[in-house]
């Protein structure tokens, strides 16, 4: 029944959405960006024993324009917050954020004047990793969770996002009839 019967052996069918998601899941490139203690565990995740390459994420990109994933690895100070916001803005869609460790998630032990109580006050966060700092295994688990999330994404979601970010909202676009009517009035 269906198309599969007619196809020769070795050919699969899938939806374009799943194909794209499959690609994104298996080559999420993180940004080469460390803040504090958690960054050391992030580096440890990248080295031989924990080997983040199994996730296709070994390519830490130094430029935000080439990265898909921002791992906020450490405490975010008031002075650093605008910088992080800007880096996140410079990353192109689709992009994801992992708040690594308790400081990035909620401020952690630094409930004081200098530290922002959670990076989610300035960025949308996809996965929170508890721990101070989280072990490399915890970061890999967070990547697993992120893959789950990436697998469920749809094109409609991105269309919606683009519409939300648009300067003129779809409902505010004047219809052609209206414009004509104005022109000839």
């Amino acid at each position: 029944m269906g198309l599969e019967e007619k196809l020769p052996e070795g050919v699969l069918t899938t939806s374009l959405e799943s194909l794209v998601n499959w690609g994104r899941q298996n080559s999420t490139w993180p940004l080469l960006f460390g803040l504090a203690c958690c960054a050391m565990e992030m580096i440890a995740t990248g080295t031989a024993r924990h080997d983040i390459a199994r996730y296709g994420s070994e390519l830490f990109r130094a430029s935000p324009r080439q990265a898909d994933l921002l791992i906020v690895s450490g405490r975010v100070s008031n002075k650093m917050a605008p910088v992080i916001k800007r880096i996140h803005d410079q990353m192109s869609e689709p992009k994801w954020v992992i708040a690594m460790g308790i400081c990035a998630s909620a401020g952690g032990p630094f409930n004081n004047y200098a530290i922002i109580q959670g990076v989610d006050k300035i960025l949308p966060v996809d996965v929170y990793v508890p721990g101070c700092p989280p072990r490399p295994e915890a970061l890999l688990y967070a990547l697993d969770k992120l893959r789950e999330k990436q697998g469920k994404e749809t094109f409609a979601h991105y269309r919606q996002l683009a519409a939300n970010d648009a300067i003129i909202k779809p409902e505010n676009i004047e219809s052609l009839d209206n414009m004509r009517a104005k022109q000839f009035a």
């Binding site: 504090a36 100070s77 002075k79 605008p82 630094f110 409930n111």
Partner: protein, 610 residues
């Protein structure tokens, strides 16, 4: 006024901790030493007090004579206090002492020739708006610490070449370490609905950041190219920002911009009980948390005047040296990665060995990085039985690995070419800038706190201190490699001489009773309760203690008012003072040599910014 600290944190000060009736003035030094006698002879009436306090030499001096005194300390051959290790300030406005100046400046002086330490104190005149003479004409080492004091305490320095904020953003409204400024942060809401007023302050801590035109740091000219490196840069080892003035590819000027990881450690220290701050020290220099614990704990033990069991001391030495190895291995891997050569492969090799050290840490305390293993009175737990055999294996394997790394690096031409003659620092500059650790020894100063001012039983070990005269990056690289070999030697000796006995002092006023004792002894239960709720009290006074951490001298200065929390806690981070040398080292060199110099200084931004 910006709403940066909307709440007063009443719950932080538990009743009984900050007992106001305790006479809080630090006791004046008594007696006299050879040095103080000489100083008093020279300055006479202008010395307010001089002498010793708990084995530390202390001098109180009038601010008008401060610069003269420092000149005298530096130039007099019989005193020869040639280096200023640290400068900080104390805000005494909340102490019940009246009639003295609110701010006091505290300087730590060091004589390398005579192996002496001296604390110099001076009141800052001007009440709430204090003004001090700057010591930057005498010591270059004073420039950054004075900027820090201005930033965090609001003390102004006359004659300072460059008095700007160093850690906080330019538009920050307060001087956060002043006692009348609250800790800040946010109340944790315990409410279940978002309509409650408890949520009102949530998120208000973020300052509005308007786009501002970048200001040119002083001393730079727009005739040349101004390049911005960082705070997001792969080779600045964290969130360091450098403003670099370039003539072609040659560096004309560098202005480091710090504070992107400023976390308010010192302010937090003033709200935590003594035993609770150990956990914070881990997060300062997160590559050598054991050493951070060690330095802090030794300072508190100096204040308490307790003795530590032999076994605990030896375990501490093992941990401290293991941490030095782990830190140096990480330095090597990132330095090589930045400078190239066998880059990525050496990162993989060196971190492989580092992981084995972290496994050992996990074995003794369950954590890899933030260990908090060394506690006041000893260590947290005894080492498990399998620890020693694992350590034995590691120690046997490591020297071979070091040989392999050295072979990989020194046999190729690239590594030597990038390092030799780069980042030169003369002996005089290294001392004058307050360099410590491998930076100092790389420039030919034979100084190691473990050997020259021994602490924690280091006098019982036989090890060499590598020193080289060349003063360039290659010399510092060789020194650090040799230091790792010496650390292995120390560990071997410690393993051979590990005595049996207590791993923690049985002084119940500072260390918790074992769990089994709680079931049978009422007294133990009371001690446990008191320690857990109030902590312990220490003698009033001011104390400084420095240890040789992997990056240099890690010092803790604590002003105690006799209560359960420090009145002022200041950390002298080696990376902060060492980083000052970056502009001197890089001027006249190529842009790419800046990366080599950052690597060789071995900074950790958590410690630079604190």
């Amino acid at each position: 006024m910006l709403n940066v600290s909307p709440t007063s944190r009443a719950y932080e000060t538990l009743p009984g901790l900050n007992d106001i009736t305790i006479p809080a003035l630090a006791p004046l030094p008594t007696g006299e030493t050879e040095d103080t006698k000489r100083i008093v002879e020279r300055f006479g009436e202008d010395i307010i007090a001089a002498g010793e306090h708990d084995g530390q030499q202390v001098i109180y001096v009038q601010p008008d004579n401060l610069v003269d005194l420092m000149q005298f300390l530096k130039s007099d051959p019989k005193l020869a206090y040639e280096a200023m290790i640290d400068a900080t300030a104390v805000d005494r406005s909340k102490l019940p002492i009246g009639n003295t100046e609110r701010f006091h400046m505290v300087y730590q002086m060091r004589s390398y020739q005579r192996k002496k330490h001296l604390m110099v104190l001076s009141p800052a005149p001007g009440g709430d708006d204090p003004v001090m003479p700057s010591l930057s004409p005498v010591f270059q080492a004073a420039i950054w610490p004075e900027r820090e004091v201005y930033d965090l305490m609001g003390v102004k320095f006359t004659g300072h070449p460059d008095l700007r904020r160093i850690l906080m953003p330019e538009h920050w409204p307060y001087h956060p370490l002043r006692k009348n400024i609250p800790v800040g942060g946010e109340e944790v809401p315990f409410s279940m609905t978002f309509d409650d007023q408890e949520f009102e302050t949530l998120g208000k801590q973020i300052l509005p950041s308007n786009s501002v035109a970048p200001t040119l740091p002083p001393g730079m000219s727009r005739q040349n190219m101004i390049l911005n490196m960082g705070p997001h840069h792969p080779s600045t080892h964290g969130v360091l920002r450098l403003v670099v003035e370039l003539d072609g590819e040659t560096v004309v000027n560098i202005d480091p911009d710090l504070g992107y990881l400023h976390s308010g450690f010192e302010k937090m220290g003033e709200t935590k009980r003594y035993k609770d701050f150990v956990y914070y020290t881990d997060r300062m220099d997160y590559l050598s948390s054991m050493n951070n614990n060690y330095g802090y704990v030794l300072t508190v033990e100096k204040m308490l005047g307790i003795t530590i069991p032999e076994r605990a001391q030896v375990i501490r030495v093992i941990m401290s040296e293991l941490q030095r190895l782990a830190s140096h291995l990480f330095w090597l891997s990132t330095h090589v990665l930045d400078v190239s050569g066998p880059g990525m492969s050496l990162l993989m090799y060196a971190t492989r060995e580092r992981e084995r050290i972290l496994d050992l840490f996990e074995m003794v305390c369950g954590a890899r990085l933030t260990t908090s293993y060394i506690r006041v009175g000893g260590v947290w737990r005894d080492v498990p039985p399998s620890f020693m055999s694992n350590l034995q294996d590691l120690v046997k394997m490591l020297p071979k690995q070091f040989d392999e790394y050295e072979h990989m690096l020194t046999s190729g031409p690239l590594w030597r070419e990038r390092l030799e003659g780069v980042g030169y620092l003369s002996r005089e500059d290294a001392i004058d800038m307050g360099m410590t650790g491998p930076m100092l020894r790389g420039s030919g100063v034979d100084w190691d706190l473990r050997r020259d001012m021994p602490y924690g039983g280091y006098e019982n070990y036989d090890f060499k201190v590598p020193v080289s005269q060349a003063g360039d990056c290659y010399a510092r690289y060789l020194n650090r490699m040799e230091e790792m070999r010496q650390s292995v030697r120390i560990i071997e000796q410690a393993m051979a001489n590990l005595p049996d006995g207590l791993y923690r002092t049985d002084e119940r006023k500072v260390s918790l009773p074992p769990r089994a004792e709680l079931d049978v002894s009422m007294e133990a239960l009371i001690h446990h309760f008191k320690l857990m709720t109030e902590g312990f009290r220490v003698n009033p006074g001011m104390y400084y203690h420095g240890i040789e951490a992997s990056k240099g001298e890690l010092g803790y200065y604590i002003y105690s008012d006799g209560s359960g929390v420090p009145h002022r806690l200041h950390v002298r981070g080696p990376s902060f003072n060492n980083l000052y040398a970056i502009s001197k080292m890089s001027k006249g060199e190529m842009l790419s040599d800046i990366i080599t110099n950052i690597g060789t200084i071995d900074i950790v931004l958590g410690e630079v910014d604190r």
